[in-house]
C-alpha cells in the first residue's frame, strides 16, 4: 500500500462539499475518505498512518466540538482542522484550546487548506513516531520476567537497589542481577532512560 500517501478524512453533512474536497485533495495526491455523519467516522477503523481530519463544526448528529471531545476520550489522536460556515469566534477559541490545528471559515481556499493539512500531517507524523516508539518499549517490557518487571517498576519509582533488596527481603546481589537484566532487555543506558521508558509504557504516572 501507499504508506507515504497521507490519508485525509473529511466529515461534512453537505454531500457536495465532501465530493468537492475529495476531488481537490486527491488532485494534490492525498488519499481521502469522506463521511456525512460523525458517527460513521467514529465507527471507521482508522489505519495507523499519517492522517488528519477536516471537520465541519456543525453536524446534525454530533457537533464538531463534541466529536473532538469523544476522540480525545477514545484516544484517537488524529489532528483536526475545523471548517465552518458560521463565523463562530468563541467556538474557534474553544477548539484551538482543545488542540485543533486550525479553524477555517468557508469557503475554504486551497492554499489555506493545504497549509493547514501540511501542518496537521507533520503533527500526525510526530505522533506516529512517538506511538511507534511506545510500541517498541511495550514490546520490550513484554520480554521481562515478573520479577524483572517488579524491579523495573521500583527502579522507575526512584528506589535504590539497597532499598529494593530490603523491601523484597532478598540479597542486594540478586537485585543487582535483575536490574542489569532489565537494563539490557529494555535497551536502557542509564536509569534516566529506564524512568522515561516506564512513563512511555504507562507503568508509572508521569507526575513521579
Amino acid at each position: 500500500m501507499t504508506a507515504h500517501q497521507p490519508l485525509i478524512y473529511v466529515v461534512d453533512d453537505n454531500v457536495s462539499i465532501c465530493r468537492a474536497l475529495k476531488l481537490l485533495l486527491q488532485a494534490y495526491g492525498f488519499k481521502v475518505e469522506t463521511f456525512t455523519k460523525a458517527a460513521d467516522f467514529l465507527a471507521y477503523k482508522h489505519p495507523r498512518q499519517q492522517s488528519c481530519l477536516v471537520l465541519d463544526i456543525r453536524l446534525p448528529d454530533i457537533d464538531g466540538l463534541a466529536l473532538q471531545e469523544i476522540m480525545a476520550k477514545k484516544g484517537i489522536t488524529i489532528p483536526i482542522i475545523f471548517i465552518t460556515g458560521h463565523g463562530d469566534i468563541p467556538m474557534s477559541v474553544k477548539t484551538m484550546k482543545a488542540g485543533a490545528i486550525d479553524f477555517l471559515p468557508k469557503p475554504v481556499t486551497k492554499m489555506k487548506l493545504l497549509n493547514a493539512i501540511t501542518l496537521a500531517i507533520s503533527k500526525s507524523q510526530a505522533q506516529l513516531k512517538k506511538q511507534a516508539e511506545i510500541d517498541k518499549i511495550k514490546r520490550r517490557v513484554k520480554t521481562l520476567s515478573p520479577k524483572e518487571l517488579e524491579v523495573f517498576q521500583l527502579v522507575a519509582k526512584g528506589m535504590l537497589s539497597k532499598q529494593i533488596a530490603y523491601k523484597r527481603g532478598t540479597s542486594l546481589q540478586t537485585i543487582k542481577v535483575h536490574r542489569s537484566r532489565v537494563m539490557q532487555k529494555m535497551q536502557a543506558e542509564t536509569v534516566t532512560d529506564l524512568i522515561r521508558f516506564a512513563q512511555m509504557a504507562g507503568l508509572t504516572s508521569s507526575q513521579n
Binding site: 453537505n14 457536495s16 462539499i17 465530493r19 468537492a20 474536497l21 476531488l23 481537490l24 486527491q26 488532485a27 494534490y28 471548517i83 460556515g85 458560521h86 463565523g87 471559515p105 468557508k106 469557503p107 475554504v108 481556499t109 486551497k110
Partner: protein, 432 residues
Amino acid sequence: MKKKTTISKRLAIGKTKNGEQKRLKGVVAGLRKNRNGLNDKIRKQKNALVKKNGELRNGAEKQVRAEEQIHIRTKAMESAVDGIFIIDAQKQDYPIIYVNQSFQKMTGYQKKEILGQNYFLLYGSEADPQVIEKIKQTIRKEKAYHGETPNYKKDGKKHWNLLRITPVQDARGAITHYVGIQTDVTMMREKQKEIDEQREELLHVTRVGKLAEFVSSLAHEISQPLTSILSYAQAAQRMLADREPKLREILSYIIDDDQRAAEVIHRLRTLLKKSKPDMKQLDINTLINDTVELITTDATVRNVDLKRDFASHLPLVTGDRVQLQQVLLNLISNSFEALESSRDVREISIRTSLQDNDTIRVEVKDTGVGLPVENIPKLFTRFFTSKPDGLGMGLSISRSIIEAHGGRLDVDNNPGSGVTAYFTIPISTKDA
C-alpha cells in the same frame, strides 16, 4: 294669656251675685260669644305669629345653610388639584370670572391678571392657533370640549393640559357660563413617552436580532455551495496541470467570482457581529414586569388579557437583560399572533417558579390556536414559519440565547387549548 285670665276672673266674680242672674245670663252669653271670637282671633294671631316666626327662623337658617354650602363649594374648588375656571358666556369676549388656586399655579398668572381677560389669551403667543380655534368653535357651538393641548405658562414654559370645558345653562336652558377643568398631564405624558421609546427600542433590538440571525443563517447556506464550487474549480485546475490553457483561464474566473461572493458574505458577517453579552445579576420577576409594561398597550389593542403569576422571593439569576427581554418578547409575540384568530378567551399568563434548588422556570402560556403535531419537530429550525410575514427566527434565536445562559427552552401544546413556551435559567451562584 294675661287677658284671658282677667276676664275669667271677672266672670267668676259675677257668678257669685245672685240677684242679677237672668240679666247676667244674657251678658254671659254675649260675653261668651265675645270671648270665643276673641279666642279665635288670638289663636289666629298666634298662628300667624308662630308661622311668621318659623318663617323668619327658616329663612335665616336657609340663608346660613346656603352660605355654608357656597363656602364649602368655593373652598372645595379652591383646594382642587385640577385648575378650575369659569367663563362668562354672555359677554362678548368670554372673560374669565373665576379661577381657583391650582389654575393660578398651573398658568403662572395671578388672579388679578386673569379675571376679566379672554381665556384664550392665556395660552400665550406660542400656542397652536389651530388648537385654539378648535376649542373656540366647539364652545361657539355650545358643546363641551375635551382634549389634550400644549400650554405655555406665563414664563413661557410648555406643559401639557388635559382640558375639559362644559357649558353651564340657566333655568331656561340658555348658556350663561362655561366651566373649565384642566389637569397638568406633562408627567404622565413623559412617562408614557419613555415607555413608548423603550418599547420601540426593544422591538427594534429584537427585530434586528432576528434579522441578523436570519442573514447569518443565510450566509451559512450560501457559503456551502461557494465552498464546493471553489474546491471543484481548484481541483479541476490542478488536474489540468498545464494543459488546456483556455479551460484553466475559465476556471480562474470561476474561482475569482466565487471568492468575491465569499468576500461579500464575510463583510456581512463582520457587520452583524454580535456585541458581547452584558451579564449582570437580575431579578427575573422585575425583568418580566419591565418587559410587560412595555407591551401593555399592544395587549390592550389586541384585546388580550395579560396575566402574571409570580413566585415571590425568587433568587437572582445571571444574565444579559436585553437578550432575556428579547426572549420574552419573542415568546409573547408568538402568543399574540396565536391569539389573533381565536375568538373566546384571549389570555396570556406568565408564570415564574422555582423548578428546583438551582433553577428558575418561566412559562408563557396562551389560549391561542395551538400547534399542529406535525410542526412540533420543526419549530426550532431556522426559517421555519407558518406565518405569511414570519422569518421563522424567533424560537431558534430564543433557544440559543437561553442555552448560552445555561438553560433550556421548549414549546408544547397545552392539555386544553393553546401553547405553553417555557424556559429555565440557572440561579446565580452567590457572588458573580
